[in-house]
């Protein structure tokens, strides 16, 4: 190809993107985690979010929405939440339904959420694939129940669709859901006590939400490692609390 043509193409691309580099990752705000993930959550790929224990399922969803708040803040378009409702209403009958005010608190604007409840596992897989193929969405959140794990081929199709449309797909799995094999990263989320806020009452108040993230597997070859994360809902970003403050709170004695 003639060099002047290449130069012209580069110039046009620069005009089209207004000088912004094309994003291939969405930084979460926590520097070490972003470095380990190769820049942040993969755009054009599936990131798997898994609870460490059954009681951590709400925490894993909480974390996923914290990540998506960032995505909604930085990308245009809406967030599509696809629930596997094959076991009745909602993702986990054990945990209830998504609640708008609580999501708004995290920075996820409820008016930008499109909720899809798939009646069966087959429909759920088809919906996730269809949404992943759609251009211009801020993010896609797939909530799989225990029986709704993707087959190898199905997971691969979703991954290819996401790559094609450059979409951000978070697959929040139940504890017993089979793994999403081609995921760019597998994040295991456990609850972690927050840094309490002294209120002057008998019990301290709740600090910002905190999680322990274990990066179990990443496509870019990062070694498995753990991170302590907190979420700041003013800036919509995750961060690592300062090391000094990163001690677990002293066990409290119940007053008689």
């Amino acid at each position: 190809m003639r060099p002047d043509l290449t130069a012209l193409r580069t110039q046009i691309r620069a005009i089209e993107t207004e000088g912004r580099p094309t994003l291939s990752c969405l930084p979460t705000g926590a520097d070490r985690l972003d470095a380990a993930l190769g820049g942040g959550l993969a755009l054009g790929g599936v990131t798997e979010v898994v609870p460490a224990a059954f009681m951590d399922e709400p925490a894993s969803l909480h974390f996923a929405f914290a990540c998506l708040a960032k995505a909604l803040h930085q990308r245009s378009g809406d967030l599509v939440v696809i629930e596997d409702a094959s076991r009745g209403q909602g993702w986990g009958p054990a945990w209830g339904q998504l609640y708008g005010p609580g999501l708004q608190k995290l920075g996820v604007c409820p008016s930008r959420i499109l909720l899809v409840r798939a009646p069966d596992v087959k429909g759920f897989h088809a919906c996730v694939e269809d949404a992943a193929r759609t251009f211009g969405l801020a993010g896609i959140l797939a909530l799989s129940g225990p029986k709704a794990g993707f087959s190898l081929a199905g997971a691969r199709r979703v991954q290819l669709a996401a790559e094609q449309a450059h979409s951000l797909v978070l697959a929040v799995q139940g504890l017993r859901t089979s793994a999403f094999a081609p995921a760019r990263a597998r994040l295991v989320i456990a609850s972690r006590p927050c840094r309490p806020v002294p209120l002057g009452t008998a019990l301290p108040g709740l600090g910002p939400p905190a999680w322990r993230l274990h990066l179990e597997r990443a496509r870019n070859g990062a070694r498995p490692q753990s991170f302590d994360l907190e979420y700041d809902d003013a800036t919509h970003s995750l961060y690592q609390p300062a090391t000094l403050a990163n001690r677990s709170p002293q066990p409290q004695r119940l007053s008689a």
Binding site: E18, P58, L61, G96, P101, C109
Partner: protein, 458 residues
Amino acid sequence: MMLAGAKALVPDICVADSDPVGEGDDLTALARWAMRWSPYCSPVKGLEGTHALFLDITGCAHLFGGEAAMLADMVIKMRALGLIARAACAATPGAAFALARFAPEARHGLSAPDGAALRALVGALPVEALRLPSGTTTGLRALGLKTIGQVATQSSAALARRFGIDLVRALDRARGLEEEAIDPVAEIIPRRIRLRLAEPLMTRHGLELAGAKAAGEMCTLLDSYNEGARRLVLNLYRVDGVVLQLVGGSGRAHRDAVLWTKVLCERIEAEANGAGLDLGFGVDLVEVCAPVVEVLEGQVMDLDPVAAAALASADALHRLADRLSARLGVGRVTRMEAVAHWVPEQAVRQVAVADRRPQVSHFPEALAARRPALLLERAEPIDAIAEVPDGPPRLFRWRALAFKVACAEGPERIACGEAHDRDYYRIETSEGRRFWLYRQGLPGKVDHPKWYVHGSAA
């Protein structure tokens, strides 16, 4: 005749219990099917055992070649269903009812004249044609008033004194002097397109073609009014008097024929794969209705690339929502709507995207700050140890697991009526799990307040 007597005459007579409710349902179904002639169609109400339908055919008759031809068509189509129908058409429902029941010509369909001629025609009919309780008609007959004409010669004041005002009103209605409102079985639909088919459709492919053609015509119709539809209803009138209904929805109002065709075809396919589409002996009338229409504002073609990209992505999202609504059903693709209600479980409503745009979707900031991300459908009772009289819980047991509370915020008091007032607390357990708990019943008013878990990820 008593049943015993009937059995003595015909030993193998078939006996069935009377089922007024079932008959009423059948009559309503028949009324829906009769909407092929007019959208204003209703079963006659108010009198036990009256099996009749009212149709307001104003502006419809010419489509069937005039009133007489329309009535004949009704009688023939009803006979094909195995029903012996009598049909009459007159200036008021009351007159039409009287003629259909008691005029001999009604067997083939009777189109009655107006004014004095109508009064003369109705005057010859017996008083039973007035659609009154049997007590009143027996009373009239006891007085020697056997026909409507004879009753009409009496002074209305005297009739009203003796039999009540209902008789006078019924008399006016039957003689074409007073109008009567009918209550149609289906809501009135602003835009509709119908395809009358010479041969009944038997196959899914044929159905899809007919649906596509009707959707195309509907879009042309909407275009002429500068409107768009959020929902199209495909009604399939089967030859054997059953109406099948398929609903296709869209996330925004539009009149794109290609998209609507796709949505309706997906609906037909989903129905055929799911419960199965039973076409019976075929479908001879295909109707597409637009129950909800909106005036479409003109869209500016934006030349700014960023705005154009935003438009394109909104369009992609709408298409996705339409596809999913068509595949999963309209109620399964929703958005959240905020409702100004203080009871937490009623503060959010799910609105199907095909229904309407959510009116309010932002929650008040101060309220949102204290709410969990997941809300249990029903609060679950827990065993809790809390500070007396009104402190936060310190230990609780839920689903056979014990939790120790490390941090708590609250209470937020929500009044639900005396003994049901709730004090909500956001708490975090010593392992860092966050819940939203409440105490039902205020301390001092209730001896042993109960504790509940209502949400998680608070």
